[in-house]
């Protein structure tokens, strides 16, 4: 073998040999056991301390509050949403006392009116809804039933009410078209208000022969929008809107 290759071979053998040797010492022990990663990292991730205790932990000592809470409107709201992360309190109850939010600014985080919130979710305008008074003076946070059953539909369906108020249907009460049972006002999911089912319903006011006020717009029900129900084109809460 030519002298050059000889010398080069020596150099390369030393280099590669030391790399392989170093590898033996430097690759972490648990690497590759479960996959291309350090298996010990799973434990490292799992061993972090809890900061939130989880609502199951509260029942051990506060079963009476939990019972009330679980049968009321806030049953899906975990204790720590309002009382903060309390794993420390569960560890040593007397050393760490959970705070309770009593100021007005807290409840609107969920309950302030926001157009992006789903319709029917209980929302109020924090500026005009009993200004100055803390929310808890009327609503028990563990059973937040409103002190008076709302009578106006606009209390929960504000956006619809506001839209309707600017339309030709402004003068019509909601009950003109929707039959509402009283229990809907107390617990909305229990009873859904009815909606008109057919063209004839609208025809009661808008048909050519209808016995209704003279200023109401009339159409020939037999030809106008023949195959469709009225609300497929006309949004009933703002029927003239384009």
């Amino acid at each position: 073998m030519p002298q050059q290759l000889n010398r080069l071979a020596i150099v390369f053998v030393i280099l590669i040999g030391s790399l392989i040797g170093a590898r033996h010492y430097l690759v972490p022990k648990t690497f590759g056991a479960l996959g291309h990663y350090r298996a010990a990292a799973i434990e490292a991730n799992a061993a972090k301390p809890l900061v939130y205790a989880g609502h199951e932990a509260c029942e051990m000592c506060h079963s009476d509050v939990v019972k009330t809470h679980d049968n009321a409107h806030h049953k899906s709201v975990a204790c720590e949403v309002c009382h903060g992360a309390q794993a420390a309190h569960v560890e040593s109850p007397t050393d760490h006392k959970p705070p309770a939010p009593r100021q007005r600014a807290f409840c609107p985080l969920c309950h302030a009116y926001d157009a992006s919130r789903p319709t029917g979710f209980p929302q109020i305008d924090p500026v005009s809804h009993n200004p100055g008074r803390p929310c808890i003076s009327c609503h028990n946070p563990h059973a937040p039933v409103p002190p008076h059953t709302p009578q106006e539909c606009s209390a929960c369906h504000g956006e619809i009410a506001r839209t309707k108020a600017l339309s030709q249907h402004a003068g019509l009460p909601c009950t003109t078209c929707h039959k509402v049972e009283e229990k809907h006002k107390i617990s909305p999911p229990l009873s859904t208000p009815s909606k008109p089912q057919n063209r004839e319903f609208c025809g009661q006011c808008h048909g050519k022969e209808a016995k209704a006020a003279a200023e109401i717009a009339r159409v020939d029900m037999s030809t106008h929008g023949e195959r469709y129900v009225c609300w497929q084109c006309h949004y009933a809460h703002s029927p003239e809107a384009k």
């Binding site: 990292a41 799973i42 490292a44 799992a46 809890l50 949403v81 969920c110 979710f121």
Partner: protein
């Protein structure tokens, strides 16, 4: 050839005495061995500590369901996540966040996420001209075919047997390739540890049978956590009764966060 050092035959330091000392010492070691072994075992058990011995990762495969129609954009989830996982509070690092979409009648889509939604959303948008509007919570999708795991050069991020994508922050070199590869913007570089970080499904809670912090505090039950493959888990019910979408399906990352009622405008 070495010469014997000069020594008195049976005095102190003599070969016989040294041998006897050695034997005594070895006997003492043997006696101490059971105690030592016990100590080692206890120490190991303590180190194994947090994970209950009864938690079997191969029995689970986790995912999350999100019902967009239930989200009220209160931001409690994003806040709880930062609290539980000690994430820096600055508005540049999020393991989970909430986006608000406003689609106007003019055809425009405006998306916002002020501080990830932690302080709520300013509700000053006018109602006129809104076609649709809703909130969408986002987080790491813990993909079954994760592009972030594919590109990590050293094997510092991985998917566990129970379907959670984790980061080994003692091995990560901070090259940021995984952050580039994530199509969902779920990862960030932690400003203090200089390693990649992201949602872990609160793995430290999950192995103890608890739910992630965001799921715990969601007041409307918009987030559902559970086993993807079990027939009777809240997540299984959720995926049975809802039409499910995932984010960016065309990238074939096989996300395990399943959205119900997801609008087509969401990216």
């Amino acid at each position: 050839m070495s010469t014997e050092p000069n020594r008195a035959p049976d005095g102190p330091g003599s070969p016989e005495e040294v041998s006897q000392d050695r034997r005594d010492f070895l006997k003492q070691c043997m006696a101490a061995a059971p105690l030592l072994l016990t100590c080692v075992c206890v120490a190991e058990a303590a180190a194994a500590g947090a994970t209950d011995e009864s938690y079997k990762p191969e029995e689970h495969y986790y995912g999350m369901g999100i019902d967009v129609n239930k989200c009220i954009g209160c931001g409690r989830c994003a806040d709880a996540c930062k609290t539980e996982n000690n994430v820096p509070r600055e508005p540049f690092y999020f393991r989970t966040w909430v986006e608000r979409y406003v689609l106007t009648t003019e055809g425009e889509t405006v998306v916002t996420s002020p501080n990830g939604g932690i302080d709520g959303f300013p509700s000053s948008i006018s109602e006129k001209g809104i076609l649709r509007t809703f909130f969408v919570p986002k987080l790491c999708n813990h993909c079954a075919n994760p592009p972030c795991v594919q590109v990590c050069p050293v094997g510092a991020t991985f998917i566990t047997r129970d379907g959670v994508v984790l980061v080994d922050k003692d091995y990560c070199i901070g090259c940021r390739y995984c952050i580039q590869a994530c199509p969902y913007g779920a990862r960030f570089l932690h400003p203090v540890t200089h390693t990649a970080e992201k949602c872990t499904f609160c793995y430290h809670r999950v192995v103890q049978g608890k739910v992630p912090a965001c799921v715990e505090v969601c007041p409307t039950g918009a987030r559902i956590f559970g086993d993807v493959r079990t027939r009777s888990s809240p997540l299984a019910r959720f995926t049975r009764f809802n039409e499910i979408q995932v984010l960016k399906p065309q990238l074939n990352t096989e996300p395990k966060v399943y959205y119900a009622n997801l609008d087509g405008e969401v990216r």
